[in-house]
């Protein structure tokens, strides 16, 4: 491999291009996704030019668009929907909860419903209270609705295919902060940190410090937090000689804890990090599962890190102080391990 790796947004864009090229059943629906605009975050660049019949730029009608996707899925097609800001997926809740996911099973037989809703989420970009949230947790635990999160470890092409092969609706949450970051490839992040996958499906990426066998703290975090946690990991090692490992799952729900069990058993402490605010979170769910599966084997309860439980302010310094940052992770793990 020569030159720097692709940016995440390039990887995602390429993944979509590949998908469209090989599968005529794939559609993209969303606001302002047509060229030359190519979507608010440029993820759909070039698609409408190459595949004009299957790339439909829409009015501002999030709810109906997901309904349309449901109709296409019923006809055996494979629609992908882009919600411009994940915060607006609130407007699609009914179609996802009461129609698309329900249809898989509520008619007494399995009705295949392949559809993916893509949602740019997250803060640290100064977009303010209604354009910066992490709504993931509100969609957990809906039968037949699958949740994924974009990551710099997981190739988008593989991921999108996997999601569309489920025969059930899925949401892909894409932390906006990722778009400009580089993908990690080849098992090596830098001279200090490598990565591999814990399962044959390559669902769980695991980043580790080279030449360190121990693990003071196993951190579980979705893709958007990877860089912040990696930075904290490096610093915890260099400044505190604390060894962390990071697991980044592609699929958040249903969550497959099995491949993590050996690591969990060996780790002194377990920490789950999310950018969303606490309360009914994915992290709480993971924590409860870890407690159940490792009862009596953990040194301390799972450390749950979330952003401050408040509205996300627009002003940069206020926003930074509200959201989980590298320093949040660093301080919490240091304190927990030193306690």
């Amino acid at each position: 491999m020569t030159g720097p790796a692709e940016r995440v947004v390039e990887n995602l864009n390429r993944g979509l291009h590949e998908l469209f090229a090989v599968d005529e059943r794939v559609y993209l629906l969303g606001e302002d996704i047509a060229d030359p605009y190519g979507g608010a975050f440029k993820v759909s660049r070039g698609l409408s030019t190459r595949f004009p019949d299957r790339v439909l730029t829409t009015p501002i009608s999030e709810g109906a668009i997901v309904g349309v996707a449901g109709g296409l899925a019923l006809c055996g097609q494979r629609p992908v929907v882009e919600i411009m800001f994940g915060d607006f997926i609130t407007l699609c809740f009914d179609q996802l909860y009461n129609f698309a996911s329900k249809s898989v099973a509520m008619y007494g037989r399995r009705v295949e419903m392949s559809l993916v809703v893509r949602c740019p989420v997250g803060g640290n970009r100064g977009y303010g209270p209604t354009h910066s949230q992490h709504p993931q947790k509100h969609f957990i635990g809906i039968p037949h609705l699958n949740l994924f999160e974009l990551s710099p470890f997981h190739d988008s092409s593989v991921l999108l295919n996997r999601m569309l092969d489920l025969g059930e609706p899925a949401i892909l949450f894409e932390d906006k902060i990722l778009y400009g970051q580089r993908m990690h490839v080849g098992g090596r992040i830098d001279e200090l940190v490598g990565f591999d996958f814990l399962d044959p499906r390559r669902d769980h990426a695991r980043a580790f410090l080279f030449d360190q066998d121990e693990c003071d703290c196993l951190v579980i975090a979705p893709g958007g937090l990877a860089e912040r946690v990696l930075a904290a990991m490096r610093e915890l090692f260099l400044a505190e000689e604390l060894v962390c490992q990071l697991v980044v799952p592609a699929q958040l729900y249903p969550f497959d804890i099995e491949p993590l069990l050996p690591l969990l058993t060996r780790a002194g402490r377990v920490c789950v990090v999310e950018e969303g605010v606490a309360g009914g979170t994915w992290g709480a769910e993971v924590a409860a599962s870890v407690h159940e599966r490792l009862w009596g084997q953990l040194r301390a309860p799972v450390l749950r890190l979330n952003s401050v439980g408040a509205v996300i302010p627009a002003a940069p310094e206020l926003e930074r102080a509200t959201l989980v940052q590298k320093s949040t992770v660093y301080n919490a793990i240091r304190d927990a391990c030193r306690a």
């Binding site: 019949d53 009015p59 349309v68 109709g71 296409l72 019923l74 009461n98 249809s103 007494g108 037989r109």
Partner: protein, 307 residues
């Protein structure tokens, strides 16, 4: 018998045997449901289409077998007009073996090829646009037929979908069964303006059907439906109709006068008056058929019972 009762009432012409049978099947099927409810043999909710049966029966002749019908909460008639399967539907509603959706969906959530119903108002219109979008691409002249009531125009989803349908020129036939009431709320308390205006606002073709004569309705609508297929383009067809019974089970709180006015427009009475002898025969046959059907289905074990 007076002349008025021996001659066809205004707006009722001779029905094909099959149409009369279907009409009466739906009527007696749903009357039986109400009886079963009263006897405590059914749970949940059931929305009968008493008074509106002629709508799906009239439309069915205009639909192709490969069209996709998206029905709503008041869907028994839509189903029975399209499929000769009263047994599967009754079993579904009663939760007995042989249920078309294995007892999972119940009255409001039915699916089989080319047919689907849902219980949440407004949902089916955008879904219908998605189906129609696909059908447009197939270029096969198929259409998506979506049923909604007047009250469902309260949902924003309907407007979002209508806008998309017209922008994308998809073959969507939006059938509005305007029975002038939504559950307990009369039309003028839930709708400002009217349905014609709503279609017009989106530049969507609109046709209003006032009568109950099935043959005439088909003539009236033939070109509208053909246009949806041919152009393709969406159309809104509004039926000015009446709900004879309660919204669900026995929850009718309308005053006697209102109900009487609705009953006066019942196709049942009109056809009965128009063709008394023939009607009586068919009516008795449908009654008998449904009575036997109920007995047969009731004897079956509940779905999901493990022996």
């Amino acid at each position: 018998m007076s002349r008025a009762l021996t001659e066809p009432a205004p707006g009722t012409s001779q029905l094909a045997e099959r149409d009369l049978e279907r009409l009466l099947l739906i009527r007696h099927f749903e009357t039986a449901l109400l009886r079963l409810f009263a006897e405590g043999k059914l749970n949940g909710t059931t929305h009968t289409c008493l008074g509106q049966e002629y709508i799906p029966v009239a439309l069915n002749a205009l639909l192709r077998v490969d069209d996709f019908v998206l029905s709503n909460h008041r869907g028994h008639g839509h189903y029975l007009a399209r499929f000769a399967d009263p047994e599967g539907l009754l079993a579904e509603i009663m939760g007995r073996e042989g249920a078309v959706c294995s007892g999972v969906g119940g009255s409001q959530h039915i699916y089989r090829e080319g047919y689907l119903s849902t219980g949440v108002q407004g949902q089916n219109v955008p879904v219908g646009v998605g189906v129609a979008l696909r059908l447009r691409q197939l270029g096969s002249g198929q259409l998506a037929a979506v049923f909604i009531g007047d009250g469902t125009w309260g949902e924003g989803a309907v407007y979002e979908a209508l806008n998309l349908a017209q922008l994308w020129q998809v073959p969507l036939l939006l059938i509005v069964e305007n029975n002038h009431i939504a559950q307990s709320t009369p039309l003028d308390a839930h709708m400002a303006g009217d349905i014609a205006g709503r279609a017009r606002a989106f530049g969507v073709r609109y046709h209003r059907v006032a009568g109950i004569d099935i043959n005439r309705i088909r003539v009236e609508l033939a070109e509208v439906v053909a246009g949806v297929r041919r152009t393709p383009a969406p159309a809104v067809v509004e039926f000015d109709t009446v709900r004879i019974g309660a919204h669900s089970k026995g929850d009718d709180t309308r005053d006697a006068e209102t109900v009487a006015a609705a009953r006066a427009r019942d196709w049942y009475t009109h056809y009965e008056r128009a063709f008394p002898a023939r009607f009586a025969l068919a009516d008795a046959a449908a009654r008998r058929f449904v009575a036997e059907l109920v007995v047969r289905v009731e004897r079956r074990p509940p779905v999901g019972r493990r022996p």
